[in-house]
Structure formats: C-alpha cells, structure tokens
Homo-oligomer: 219 residues x 2
C-alpha cells in the first residue's frame, strides 16, 4: 500500500486520476482567490500577473499552466460571481414566504453577509468594476450583459407581488429594485474599501424603506 506525502500534508492511498484533478482544481482556486483580492481592489488592468503570482507564492509562468490569460481569470471570476448572485436571488423568489418577508429576509441576510464576508464585498467590487467598464474584452461584456439584470428583474417581481398584497411601499417596482440593489452594492463596496470602523445601517432602516410599517414588526 503506497502512501503519498502531499504538499498540504494530506496523506492518502494513491488514486492519481482523481487526486490530480482535485489538486489542479485546488490550485486554480488558490489563484482565483488571489485574483479576486487583487482585481477587486485594483481592477483588471491595474492588476499585474506578477501581483497574483506573488500573492499565491508561485512563479508568474505557472499561472499560465492553469489559465489561458489574465482576462480568462477575470472572466471566470465574474461569471461565477454573477451566477452565484443570480442563483441566490432566484432561490429567494422561490422561498415559501410572502413577498414582504422575502424582502426582509434578503435585507437581513445581505447586511449580515456584508458585515462578515470580506469575500462577498470583494465580489461586489468586482462586479461593480466589470459592469461599469467598457474597456473589457467582448466575451466578458457578453457575459455581463446577459446576466447582470437578473437580480433587478427578480426583485422587481417580488416587489410587485408585495404591492399587490399591500405590504410593500408604492412606486415603480423596477425603480424600487434599482434603489435596493444600488444600496446593497454601495454598502458592500463601502465596507470593502474601509475595513475599519464602518457604521453599516441596521436592517430596520432598509426594511422601512421597502416594507410598509405595519408589516415590519421585529421577529
């Protein structure tokens, strides 16, 4: 029975087909984590491959063993981020709750995530950069154009449903959804760029902006 000593200290029975694949994915994940950190802080063009490689602790050239190009890393990060965000929003829509409770739950969850997850905030920065730059390669722009409107649309549906029930404040659902997401996004970015003592709004403040008062008891 052969035992392999791995870099990460894990020893196991040889099973290299899968093991190799898994290690490769772990390595890619390391690179992507470093790239997210760098890209979210500096953007695609101010981030150097050298920065990412140094952060991971590998030679520049090795990056190209795992990714075709710098833009490729960026594209993969942005695609993943948008997909996860969109999946979460679609899940929210499917939850067995009345619309205003969905909104309350979303606000609480999002604020908690902003408070606790540096990675989430970095991801918001990344999406922000990607969505607001016309300088990106065409393939990234396609991905963005195709995916970035989903949260607005889904939330607008929930808001419209809540207005039907009389539990959500009046106003064009699209417009309200827009304000909702720009706020959340802005808060995440604000937090990401000043780790120190940031006063984030209490969930109640945001809930009051979207849910009618009588439906906003503490729970």
């Amino acid at each position: 029975m052969k035992v392999q000593s791995k870099k990460d200290g894990v020893s196991s029975v040889a099973r290299s087909q899968e093991q190799n694949e898994k290690m490769r994915l772990e390595r890619k994940e390391q690179i992507m984590a470093a790239a997210l950190r760098e890209f979210s802080a500096k953007g695609l063009y101010a981030t150097k491959i050298k920065d990412i490689a140094e952060y991971v602790g590998m030679a520049q050239g090795l990056i190209y063993h795992y990714f075709k190009s710098k833009e490729d890393i960026f594209t993969e990060l942005v695609t993943d981020a948008l997909d996860k965000m969109n999946d979460a929003v679609i899940e929210l829509g499917k939850m067995p709750l009345p619309p205003h409770e969905k909104i309350k739950a979303a606000i609480k969850q999002l604020l908690y995530t902003i408070e606790t997850s540096e990675r989430f905030n970095q991801t918001c920065c990344l999406i922000n950069q990607a969505a607001n730059s016309t300088a990106l390669p065409a393939n990234i722009k396609e991905v963005i154009d195709q995916k970035r409107d989903v949260p607005y649309r889904e939330l607008a549906k929930i808001i419209a449903a809540g207005q039907q029930e009389g539990t959500v404040v009046a106003g064009d659902p699209q417009a309200l959804a827009l304000v909702f997401w720009t706020s959340i996004n802005g808060l995440a970015i604000y937090k990401a760029t000043r780790q120190n003592n940031v006063t984030l709004p209490d969930a109640g403040i945001l809930i009051n902006m979207f849910v009618k008062e009588q439906n906003n008891g503490k729970n």
Copy 2:
C-alpha cells in the same frame, strides 16, 4: 488695428497675454472633457493617452504640452469633481430651509441632474472608480481620502437635525447618509452605463425613504 483669425473663428483685437492664457485653458478643458469621458468609462489604466488625443483630435505628444502626465489629468479631474460635489453639499447645508426640505430639494435636484446631465453621471463613475481603487498613485489617494467623506458628514448633520424636528425617519444618521449617497451614486452610474431606456425612480420614492410621510406633500 490688427485682426487675428483664430481656429474657433473668433476674430479680435490682439491682446495675447490674456488671450493666450484663455486659449490654453480652453484647450486644457477640451482635453479634460475627453479624458472624463474615457476615464469614466474605462478607468485610469485602461484609458490610453492615444484614446484621449484621438477624441480631442490632436497628436499624442501635444497632450504633454498641457499636462505633465496621464495621472495628472486624472488627478485634476478627480479633485475638481470632489470639490464641486463638496461645495454643492455645503451650500445645501446653508440653505434657509428646514432639514427635511433640504433633503427633498437635494433628491429632486440630484435626480433631475442624473436624468439630464451625462457629464454628471460620468463624474460619478469617475469618483466611484477613484474611490474604490487601491491602485492609484499616492497623491490621488490623499486627495480622495481627504475629500470623499464630506458629503456623508454634511448629509448626516442635516438628517440628525431633521430627526430632532421629527420630520426625518429614524435611524443612525451616518447610516442613513450612507444609504442616501450609495443610492444616488448607484443611480448615476446605472444611468451612465445604459443610456437607453432606464427607469429611474421618481423623486417621491426616494423622499419617502428619508422624510416622514406627513412632511412629504407634493409642492
């Protein structure tokens, strides 16, 4: 009496001391307008001097007759933008109106500006990029660190005063100010990046988020 024929078609009595200075400033203004357009869409590092020069219709080299460097243009743009924004907010604070009316006026004015001024929206994009990038040269970062908190602080004061009077919604003033500006900023950026049919929120929607209902009659 000598008559000069100018590029811009203006003929006038020779008075070159001032005239030259004025022409120089006009030229700088042209460059800055082009640079704002490019920087706001692409960021500092994805924007090439060639892009700016082409947009103005001059040779690359000539840019350096008017500015020391690319970063210099960026710095000047960001400084001007932050100063104007801060001046406007401070003016708002001094207006002879009760706090909630200041907020209502600000929302109306800002939404109208977002609706009508492409330049304002570009400026928001520029500030957004500048404030959220750690990749900028140190001197720009100093300018930003020093100036970017003014609108939050000033608005928080107004909000706190309104709460004293019972006309503004409850919640930490800092946090409310943060939501206010992230919303405004987000809307401007949203508009800037999709010129087509964007549904901006009605002023009433935003006013209801910050001003108590009984103080929110149409006027």
